[in-house]
Symmetry: C2
Subunit: 464 residues, 2 copies
Amino acid sequence: MHQKIKEYIESNRERFLNELFELLRIPSVSADPQYKEAVFKAAYKTAEFLKAAGIQYVEVCPTPGYPVVYGEHLFDPSLPTVLVYGHYDVQPPDPLDLWESGPFDPVVKKTDIHPEGAVFARGACDDKGQFFMHVKAVEAMLATNTMPCNVKFMIEGEEEVGSEHLAWFVANNKEKLKCDTILISDTGILSNETPSICTGLRGLSYVEVEVVGPNRDLHSGLYGGAVPNPINILAKMIASLHDENNRITIPGFYDDVVNLSDEERRLMAEAPHSDEAFKKSIGLKNTWGENGFTTPERTSIRPTLDVNGIWGGYTGEGAKTVIPSKAFAKISMRLVPNQNPDKITRLFSEHFIKIAPDCVSVKVKPHHGGEPYVSPLDSPEYQAASLAMQSTFGKKPVPVRSGGSIPIVSLFERELGVKSILLGFGLDSDAIHSPNEHFGLFNYYIGIETIPYFYQNYVNIKKA
Amino acid sequence: MHQKIKEYIESNRERFLNELFELLRIPSVSADPQYKEAVFKAAYKTAEFLKAAGIQYVEVCPTPGYPVVYGEHLFDPSLPTVLVYGHYDVQPPDPLDLWESGPFDPVVKKTDIHPEGAVFARGACDDKGQFFMHVKAVEAMLATNTMPCNVKFMIEGEEEVGSEHLAWFVANNKEKLKCDTILISDTGILSNETPSICTGLRGLSYVEVEVVGPNRDLHSGLYGGAVPNPINILAKMIASLHDENNRITIPGFYDDVVNLSDEERRLMAEAPHSDEAFKKSIGLKNTWGENGFTTPERTSIRPTLDVNGIWGGYTGEGAKTVIPSKAFAKISMRLVPNQNPDKITRLFSEHFIKIAPDCVSVKVKPHHGGEPYVSPLDSPEYQAASLAMQSTFGKKPVPVRSGGSIPIVSLFERELGVKSILLGFGLDSDAIHSPNEHFGLFNYYIGIETIPYFYQNYVNIKKA
């Protein structure tokens, strides 16, 4: 089958790219209501592509939020069923001024890491480029009569805002979503020379806080010195959330953290990593993090607390001597097994309100959360993915814990009782969630080729 | 003379108000370049009103920035000359959504403190309403032939951005600006029942800081825990600028502060003040400030450090899991005698850069500064002002140190060798620099009446 797949991809290379461009031109930013119509447009466009790929049955399923695009191609109930998950929504593009080309005007440009070129656009990697590999891979299998099993698609539109209604959708469609495994490409590999498979994900707790001092903006000359400045106080509160070892000070925060054994940490340390290269890649003079842990550990097996946004007072040009009434911050915590997002959000809220001085009032508004996840290396899906990558990359992939969060992975396990396999093809340097997000052509096409091999291997392993 | 003045004001009440409205409708925001034309328009409008008031010679004097409106009415070189200073520029109106009526659509509304109504508009009090009292007062004296001396006007357009070019203008026009005293209404009184005269002003040092972590925005999942988040670090740096007694921690910051004697503090304490009323007026549960000092002391004789604005990361709707590349803050320090703004700005910059961890880079950009000022109570201008207020308010005004800054007062003393008298009529509750700024009709008209009495008293005292 390998030959047929290779040839089909080769002879459709250009079309596969142009079709992805069509999808990338739709600004489906789920976090910002002003893009609402575009998000729906992206859903219908995705459905169109699934039909065009030859999928028997395709449906755009409404939810209380953005729709889920569902598709299924069922040959034989006796064969295994793979459910492909992905998302057609993207992160907001700001800060816009840092994009070298329009976030929704995809272009191919060469980079040091991508000598044969990469697609630059918001969503190029996360996740339009990656879920579209599956659409094209299934098309290739159907067109070459090498589809070895049943396949279902579930492409949602709220991943970047916490998959708010996916739990609702899954709970109400268990029969429809019945499958043997869930295949997801929303993670990355260590490098194009070092393939890897993500075997763990961090969970997420995300809150927005508001600190209120005086009931109106005040003149800093007339009032300065005698009234609580909500910005100064918010800064003090945020500062107190880390101690001198950069450990998070919220009582009980680490209680449920699963600490890795020295042996596990030793194995992790075998994955190639250079702090120098890491620092260079993002222009850092020095790394920063919890004392006693390496950079790969800090970004995977340890929880974090980061301020994702802060605002208050006068932020325009020039100087305004004001003491604002309110200051705000968006704060997120990455969680590791076995931390529970709801519990962590509760602990944060209680602590944050507790440390507020009595001269201000504080509100904490929880955003979405997600549970951490770890997948076993001896599962049929991991074995199938590992073999598939060996065929395309020519070497065995390294199992790696990722720092990111795909909350729905735990949701699927809970609701559908199946494991997910995170077969991602992005790179850390792809700048997802940043200006100039991109996805290597090498990665796009090798993904499209690797996926059919995964199906083949998976069916064989299940048969055995 | 009192009778003539009273009658003239009475018979022109309405026109005096409508003319002020014309001025308030011009959005002369000097801090924001998008209002540039409006600022110039306000200058020419001011000149127009000076001519209409009967001032012999009026000139709009260009500067490298916004023009200074100059006017003079000279009878007799043997008579004293009063120079009126004010500014026609205003603070930015934001946050716009908190205004109950348009910031540049003046309306009269009643409030608890202003039962006979107050003018609501940006600049109503600071400083269009207050400098315009002088235009009308001089008009009244000229119209009733009661002008007892020479008068000059210098109304600038850059006060809210630090009077950037006024020093240049004054230095280049010393002869033109020659005078015996400078009369300024840009401060307030304790209440409409308790007249007061401002005898001291705080200086100002204003900086903008930038903290840079990674060279681009990063995904908080992939990088979180291992990279310096510039917001978290800026928060830590800001937090460290006050100690547990809310004293400023910048080395040398307090070195030049003139500490008041117990006797001086006792006298200060005689001015009526209620912490309860203070808290209630701005909806505070509790005050905040340097330990060991009262609220009036904290806002007048003690220096401060306030963050006037902060921004960084994602501040839009919803949740974006980003670690931003940069975080920013605008920070101002109110200074007291004998602190020097340039020295304090230098001390701040050195300290702020010193406390930055080596994983980030920091920039400090100084904005405008201003020197503190104290005026003697035995000067002819203070005596003249005190007597004038007694005639209109029926009681002797209390000398009060204000927390605000009018940097040019020190400039005038240095360049022109004359003292200024701060005869202001605003109230702390007028919300200057805030949404819904207003100026009481009572205050406006009593100001117009008090000013001519000041001239009369001043000439008599100088003669004696």
